[in-house]
């Protein structure tokens, strides 16, 4: 209302008046004797926008055209630079004024900047309510080791145990990522999706936040058989030309599964157990710790707790991936290459190898399979190890989706 009155009083003057330093006055904090109308300020902002967007064109605004009738692009950019300089100066001058906000909990920071395994403290876990278990009547006695006590009818999880198990799980994720393993992050409850995706993004892993399709591992050829896969080298650069060879290969399986809500994902964990895949799971007091390989006893109903755990595991994966890529820069390959793939140019050689191999006796074939090689081959292998650059390209490839 005040602005409207002001406008009625000074609007006509403000429309007529033109200013040579529009932004400076707009940013000034000191009380000006002259009246500033909101309308004028908006027009100045528009002018600045136009200048920033189209530095090579003359400004389209009529307000500006009569102020600067013949402004060249160089003059304009100088003006913008001056205004920006003024803005920064003002910011330096008055930016620190006002009340001082003490550090406080901001929910988005757990997603934007998740804590690393070194940042895990008991206070952080306490603040994220990792200690709250379920009612004592629905506990699983297998969790008795992780429970600190009973408070008002609920079990309280021991935070020391939580921190120890979380660090151990983070170490596992880090090591698996360092050896280029596939890590799958699963969290299918409402609100867990962003944490899951963020963790997978950090660890360069894979995420699932909707529903595990039963049989994706045990019956993977039917369910995931048509999913696209690609071949990459040790620096994660895709190599083309493998499309025909990738057709009909067995589907990919994760090397490690991180499940944030095991209670709803029993089928997934069972399939992992059947197929001998290690799993990490957040085990509340009502969950069964034998479903997973590495339990993390914590509250799986608190989103803050889930974000902390997913963030820590994601950060651990990030550390591992960085170590792997650093090793790749040095020319070291930390994983065993994909079997049965031939580089697009080497088909003839591979065919010749196969025919030569078929001429060998079964015993010799088995020796080749088991990696027992003769001294000459060993010498060449040692040579190659000495000159990493000379290592065969086909020893560095792996299949990812």
């Amino acid at each position: 209302m005040i602005i409207r009155q002001h406008l009625a009083r000074t609007g006509s003057r403000a429309l007529v008046r033109s200013s040579s330093h529009p932004l400076r006055r707009f940013l000034s904090a000191e009380t000006d004797a002259r009246h500033v109308s909101a309308d004028d300020s908006i027009k100045q902002l528009h002018t600045l926008d136009t200048q920033l967007d189209t530095p090579s064109l003359p400004p389209a605004s009529t307000n500006d055209s009569h102020t600067h009738p013949s402004a060249t692009p160089a003059q304009l950019s100088a003006q913008v630079a001056e205004q920006y300089h003024q803005f920064k100066k003002q910011q330096q001058l008055i930016g620190k004024l006002g009340s001082d906000i003490t550090p406080h909990y901001q929910p988005h920071t757990l997603l934007n900047n998740p804590p690393s395994p070194a940042d895990v403290t008991l206070e952080l876990l306490l603040a994220s309510e990792a200690h709250q278990g379920h009612a004592t009547s629905i506990w699983n006695p297998a969790n008795a080791r992780y429970i600190h006590g009973i408070r008002q009818g609920t079990h309280i999880i021991s935070l020391e145990v939580t921190a120890a198990h979380l660090r151990r799980a983070a170490k596992v994720v880090q090591e698996v990522s360092r050896r280029a393993g596939m890590v799958l992050f699963v969290g299918t409850r409402d609100g867990q999706d962003r944490a899951v995706v963020r963790a997978a993004e950090l660890a360069k892993g894979y995420h699932l936040f909707e529903r595990w399709i039963p049989g994706s591992i045990t019956n993977g050829q039917q369910i995931l058989g048509r999913c696209k896969t690609k071949v990459v080298n040790e620096k994660d650069v895709e190599i083309d030309g493998f499309d025909e060879q990738l057709w009909g290969r067995p589907v990919l399986r994760p090397d490690l599964v991180v499940c944030l809500n095991p209670l709803e994902n029993y089928v997934l964990l069972h399939e992992c157990a059947l197929n001998n895949i290690p799993t990490i799971g957040v085990i509340d007091t009502n969950a069964d710790p034998t479903w997973v390989t590495y339990p993390i006893p914590a509250n799986d109903d608190s989103l803050r707790c889930i974000q902390v755990i997913a963030g820590v595991l994601g950060r651990a994966g990030e550390l591992g991936q960085k170590a792997r890529l650093a090793a790749a820069e040095r020319g070291e390959v930390v994983y065993s290459p994909a079997k049965g793939l031939v580089l697009p140019g080497d088909e003839d050689k591979a065919a010749a190898d196969t025919s030569a191999r078929e001429q060998l006796s079964p015993d010799e074939q088995q020796k080749l399979d088991e990696g027992i090689v003769d001294p000459d081959d060993l010498a060449t292998m040692l040579d190659e190890a000495a000159h990493h650059e000379g290592k065969a390209k086909s020893d560095r490839i792996k299949v990812v989706s």
Binding site: P103, L126, A142, R145, I147, V172, L256, Y294
Partner: protein, 248 residues
């Protein structure tokens, strides 16, 4: 399998067995990792936490179960909220900033920056007084409680002044939830009254249509009243006849 499915815990042993029996041509990538960082003892029995008491020992089946956690301020909380049950109905902020929030508080004063004033303040202040000012439990409770009332009163004053200031500078406040609810209730009540009147009218008109004879309506009543008036003067024991109708 038995009762427990331990396959998830034994992935490494299984991988080794599959490799040894030549089912798998190579060990998985994580084989050494799981060997270096083994899973914990998942199904081990917890340590015994209950002290051995002669006489009334706990049932053997409950020996390894978790124990209840007790704090010294539990009784104080119980007392305060027993005396002030409506304090529990107030909305309360339970989100912690860093987990170290309570370390900033200094309970030599009632009001803490960054913490709302509630029953917990009274309990902590009482505890502090008992510990540092050597007050007895009832004396500390009395002191803390009265400080709490004083600060609640100041909060009310502050709120009222803030509203007055805001209204003075042109703010206006919309109807509160109670007023809105009352309006809705009134509207519904009025609607029901018109509906009920309509029902009565309809019924009466239907009845008048059904009966051909004239109803004992306004005319009959008037006749009856006139007859009663006449009769009352002649009956001295009648209630309305005694001294009411004094005719000049």
């Amino acid at each position: 399998m038995g009762r427990y499915d331990l396959r998830a815990l034994r992935v490494r042993q299984t991988a080794k067995a599959l490799f040894d029996s030549k089912r798998n041509r190579e060990l998985p990538q994580w084989y050494n990792i799981v060997g270096d960082i083994p899973p914990g003892e998942t199904l081990a029995r917890p340590v015994l936490r209950i002290p051995q008491i002669k006489g009334r020992a706990k049932k053997p089946s409950r020996l390894f179960q978790p124990l209840a956690i007790h704090h010294p301020e539990d009784k104080l909380r119980e007392d305060f909220f027993g005396d002030h049950p409506w304090e529990l109905a107030r909305p309360r902020l339970v989100v912690e900033d860093s987990g170290n929030d309570s370390k900033r508080y200094d309970w030599s004063k009632m009001v803490q920056p960054g913490k709302q004033l509630d029953g917990e303040s009274v309990v902590q202040r009482q505890l502090w007084l008992m510990k540092h000012a050597n007050l007895s439990k009832p004396a500390a409770y009395d002191l803390a409680r009265k400080e709490f009332y004083q600060h609640r009163h100041l909060e009310d004053v502050r709120r009222r002044v803030a509203k007055e200031e805001a209204m003075h500078t042109g703010a206006y406040f919309a109807k509160g939830p109670l007023e809105v609810g009352m309006e809705l209730e009134d509207k519904m009540w009025e609607g029901w009254k018109t509906w009920a009147q309509q029902q009565i009218d309809d019924e009466e008109s239907m009845r008048s249509q059904m009966m051909s004879a004239p109803q004992a309506g306004a005319g009959a009543d008037a006749d009856m009243d006139a007859a009663l008036d006449d009769a009352q003067e002649a009956v001295p024991q009648a209630r309305e006849g005694q001294g009411v109708r004094v005719r000049a």
